[in-house]
């Protein structure tokens, strides 16, 4: 049984008097790559953290199809600035597997596979902290790859990367999708959204302004805010 779909019911998040997220109701099904698009400060990252369970909502409910006490075991997240554990590249990948008590043989197999998929095999014994930014983000993806999650959240994974590294990350993300994992990714890069998205959730000032298939969204956005964002207008 799958933990998907994930449903959010009237989710809000407040910091003091300000509502950073307000009245968000969404159902995220398995299948299409979902891109959450929006300007900086629209609440994309916050929404992703609430979905993943790192933060609890101030109001509303987050529900998985299959309630599980160990919610993290079947999902994973890649952060904008990946945290590299102070150990080797291979040990970084093995870390999450150890927590899940995956036995040594299987662990070695998955580590090798994840490193190969992300092109990091040659770096296996290097200290993770000495990798370049792009390599670190690939390692972050390798770590999640090894965990074989049903759903993968990515929070602006290429925001700090150059085009070459961005391309490598996007290819790996597509590989995730092809292997059957559900992708939910935030970005403020319209080009990246065009390249990757099957469907778009457009977030504006803490609310879902529009949700549509990628083709339709980019061809004919139904809200003025989305249209303005796609034109490159400043929305604030």
């Amino acid at each position: 049984m799958s933990i998907l779909p994930l449903s959010l019911d009237e989710v809000s998040f407040r910091a003091g008097d300000r509502a950073l997220l307000d009245g968000i109701s969404l159902t995220i099904e398995s299948g299409p790559k979902t891109v959450i698009l929006g300007a900086n400060g629209a609440g994309k990252s916050l929404l992703l953290r609430i979905c993943h369970g790192l933060l609890g909502p101030s109001g509303g409910k987050v529900r998985w199809a299959e309630g599980t006490t160990r919610q993290y075991e079947r999902q994973a997240m890649v952060f904008q600035k990946p945290v590299m554990l102070r150990r080797s590249v291979a040990a970084n990948v093995a870390y999450g597997l150890r927590l899940r008590k995956i036995e040594a043989g299987e662990r070695a197999r998955r580590v090798a596979d994840a490193l190969r998929r992300t092109g990091l095999t040659d770096f296996a014994d290097q200290p993770a902290r000495l990798l370049s930014g792009g390599e670190q983000q690939r390692l972050a993806l390798a770590r999640t790859w090894a965990l074989e999650p049903e759903i993968l959240f990515l929070d602006e994974p290429t925001a700090n990367l150059d085009p070459g590294a961005t391309r490598a990350v996007e290819e790996i993300v597509s590989g995730f999708h092809d292997s059957g994992a559900k992708i939910v990714m935030t970005t403020h890069d319209i080009g990246q959204a065009r390249r990757l998205a099957d469907e778009v959730i457009f977030l504006h000032r803490g609310r879902v302004a529009e949700r549509a298939g990628a083709d339709r969204f980019f061809a004919q956005p139904s809200t003025e805010e989305a249209a303005a964002y796609l034109r490159g207008d400043l929305l604030w």
Partner: protein
């Protein structure tokens, strides 16, 4: 001062057997005390950084206050426990190196807890979301940040070692400064001072300083190598 320096060099050069024995005993006692303190203090410090529980702030304040425990007070406390008339008197540990190890461990543990807490707190701040996302539970997080902070934690252990080798009040009371059994560098310095052998006392002090510098240099260079290797 110059006379003391010459004397210190002469003592080192002569490899005086009694002096070497005293230095070795100082190291053995302090290393054992620091090992015990680290075994308790490092997990405790990291746990303070990870776990959230009522009274946590109070514990942190207390630990920081205990860093400044007067050695004489600790010595007296341990003495009362280990004395034949005290609750642990039956162990017969008073005036033995073991008693000195216990006293130093009590002195050093709060230091290691406090420094370890400060060092791991920042690291955990950085790691928290990532570890949480991996599904790490608090005790997993404690182990992870201890391992990942290992290079900087050498500082905490060295600070503890410095305190242990430098203190005199506690070991004097519980060790008794018995020649050949519980006489260490600091108690020898106190003894020679009271005999009026100021130059000899100063020379011993210089040797203590030199060994401290040596130990720290070794620890630093190991930390440096490790930092380079592990990034």
């Amino acid at each position: 001062m110059g006379q003391a320096f010459v004397l210190a060099l002469q003592l080192i050069a002569a490899l005086d057997a009694e002096l070497l024995e005293i230095i070795a005993r100082s190291f053995a006692v302090s290393l054992a005390a620091v090992a015990i303190a680290a075994a308790i203090g490092l997990p405790a410090g990291a746990a303070l950084a990870v776990y959230r529980f009522p009274g946590r702030r109070a514990v942190i304040v207390l630990v920081n206050a205990l860093m400044g425990l007067p050695p004489v007070f600790v010595g007296l406390l341990i003495y009362l426990f280990l004395s034949r008339a005290g609750p642990l008197g039956f162990l017969g540990l008073l005036f033995t190196p073991t008693a000195m190890i216990i006293a130093q461990a009590v002195l050093v543990t709060p230091i290691i807890v406090a420094i370890c807490h400060r060092l791991t707190r920042d690291l955990y701040e950085e790691y928290r979301d990532q570890l949480c996302s991996f599904g790490a539970r608090p005790h997993d997080a404690v182990r992870t940040i201890l391992w990942d902070a290992r290079v900087s934690l050498v500082t905490a252990v060295m600070a503890g070692f410095g305190r242990a080798t430098a203190e005199v009040g506690a070991v004097l009371i519980v060790g008794g400064n018995i020649a050949g059994l519980t006489r260490v560098m600091t108690t020898t310095i106190a003894l020679e001072t009271s005999k009026g052998n100021l130059a000899l006392a100063l020379a011993l002090g210089l040797i203590l300083v030199l060994t401290a510098i040596g130990v720290n240099a070794v620890a630093m260079s190991l930390g440096g190598v490790s930092a380079y290797r592990r990034g």
